[in-house]
Symmetry: C2
Subunit: 308 residues, 2 copies
DNA sequence: AAAATAGTGTCTTTTAGACAATATGCG
DNA sequence: CGCATATTGTCTAAAAGACACTATTTT
């Protein structure tokens, strides 16, 4: 920028294009054995009334991660319940936001035992939507959020196999079955994403809202398709339909048990036992998550033997 | 931001803090069997005279990745020789740049057969510095680039084990030995980074340059320690010292051969044979990289059996 | 007792790793 | 030939996976 030897050319920020910087969040959870993500319904243009990832602008003296936590709390009333956040990637196509040049830094996290999310200060709706719904094309997200979500799904699919992250879906104390069920739910709902571009991004063009803030058809469609609206503890039904063509087969209980117990530092026994569920069964031992960062060896989904 | 029901509040970019957005690049290569990264020497404040990752500001209508490629070419004259670039992460601490609020998006890539890098338009120096040098604390980078580099090293260490990326260090046609040698070099030089914070970041405070543009001591130190300056094909000596305490043991030739050949789609035979090196030996078959994206099963470094 | 879930044992097949043996070039 | 490197073979130990069996609860 400066010629060699020029010693004192002060940097002038005005020489460089100003960007808006935002954060967006992909918060996973498991409800009714289906993997879900937290979505809000936008109440301002552009994409008014569309589903979107929670997020917003980074403030002047704020860390990126701080901004992510703040926006999450503001828009969904979810605080520490979402565990540690991890960066997913940054999306900065010049046309991704019609209002101004914006790059967004996406974070993802895992939450257990969420409070029923409230609309935030802006009275938006926030819900835990099954990823299967988004995958099936029933729901299209604002901006390039479909792309972000796809990347997040791939990331979690991959990462739970070699890290202890699956424990984050469980309560502080959990049984091995609960952990196995988390693996099954995640792999069941994400295995389709590992290779394909199953989610078509919504065009990133400016789109004028059509109707009222909350489009009732969208809202209704989603509820019918997936989430029971106001039941505190929804019935143990799996409402989300399995993705067509998903040939995931559940993990073997016995082998899983042996696998996780032999990974040193993965699970920590508490000595306590769980009370069996209503349907009976032998009480299971309760564990807490250990302190390792990586699973050696990793845990893999069963690979369906193809051709040959 | 807007009250519920307010339909027409136009977005005003001035309401949000303006950021500078930059890209930084971590370009890996292997020279003399040592893993290296491309560094430049800064010729403007802050951190004038310090080593830094190549990078710079994103322009108004530019993709992030486009910006990365442009900056790489401008500062180091390296173009397509660096293969595909992949995002590493984004760094946006409020104090990371003393000039203005800046977030930087880091990319990384792998290059083979680099041209001897020239100083760019700004007459900076650019060199392929052994990561061992940076790891040992001999070289401290500008801004938070030590942190970025550490993250990149961890990423590549991990990622070559389950992707075919190691082939990118090789020529278009390569022997299995050359590929194995790439794995050995990478793991040899990165295995220390997998768990620890071995690189201390330089404080992110503004630091006034001490002397001339290119501090000769730094330059000299680096050359002595690692890179032969102007030899086109440096002697087959390993000049970079192995990191102390690195207990990496090389891969078994026979087992490696079998492993890579059984991974379907990893290597594609050309039928041709290489001519043996000056030291003799049976000519090896030449392969090209196949088209898979993931290695199943992955290739692992030998895990040193600890305690027990 | 029957059903349901947790946990253990056992057997078979596959894979990983150490290392020996052979192949093919060079001087 | 003797050396160096490539490639294949062999044997052993460990891991993965299928699946049967036992244990402990509820109805």
């Amino acid at each position: 920028m400066y010629a060699l030897g020029v010693t004192d050319s002060p940097h002038n920020p005005a020489d460089y294009p100003p960007f808006g910087v935002t954060v967006d969040l992909v918060i996973f959870s498991i409800i009714n054995k289906s993997l879900r993500i937290l979505l809000i319904q936008r109440d301002e243009p552009p994409f008014l009334g569309k589903w979107a990832l929670p997020g917003g602008f980074v403030l002047k003296d704020e860390n990126l991660e701080q901004a992510a936590r703040r926006e999450l709390a503001e828009e969904t009333s979810i605080g520490k319940e979402a565990g540690p956040l991890e960066q997913l990637g940054t999306y900065g196509h010049p046309d991704r936001d019609p209002r101004q040049r914006v790059v967004t830094v996406a974070y993802w996290g895992i939450a257990h035992d969420l409070p029923e999310p409230q609309g935030g200060s802006d009275a938006r709706y926030a819900e835990h939507v099954p990823v299967a719904e988004v995958a099936s094309g029933n729901i299209r997200l604002a901006f390039d959020h479909n792309k972000i979500l796809t990347d997040a799904i791939r990331r979690i699919h991959h990462k739970i196999s070699y890290t202890p992250l699956a424990t984050r879906f469980c309560a502080k104390e959990f049984t091995i079955s609960e952990l196995r069920s988390a693996y099954d739910a995640i792999w069941q709902d994400t295995i389709e994403f590992t290779n394909l571009e199953n989610i078509k991004p919504i065009p990133a063009t400016f789109e004028q809202p059509k109707l009222s803030l909350v489009t009732p058809d969208l809202k209704m469609k989603y509820q019918i398709a997936s989430a029971p609206p106001k039941v505190a503890n929804p019935p143990a039904l799996t409402l989300a339909k399995p993705i067509k063509g998903s040939d995931y087969t559940k993990l073997d209980t016995g082998n899983f048990q042996r696998s996780v117990l032999q990974i040193e530092g993965f699970l920590q026994s508490t000595g306590k036992k769980s009370s069996p569920s209503a349907s009976g069964g032998r009480p299971a031992e309760l564990y807490t998550a250990g302190d390792i960062k990586e699973l050696t060896p990793p845990i893999h989904p069963k690979t369906p033997k193809p051709k040959k």
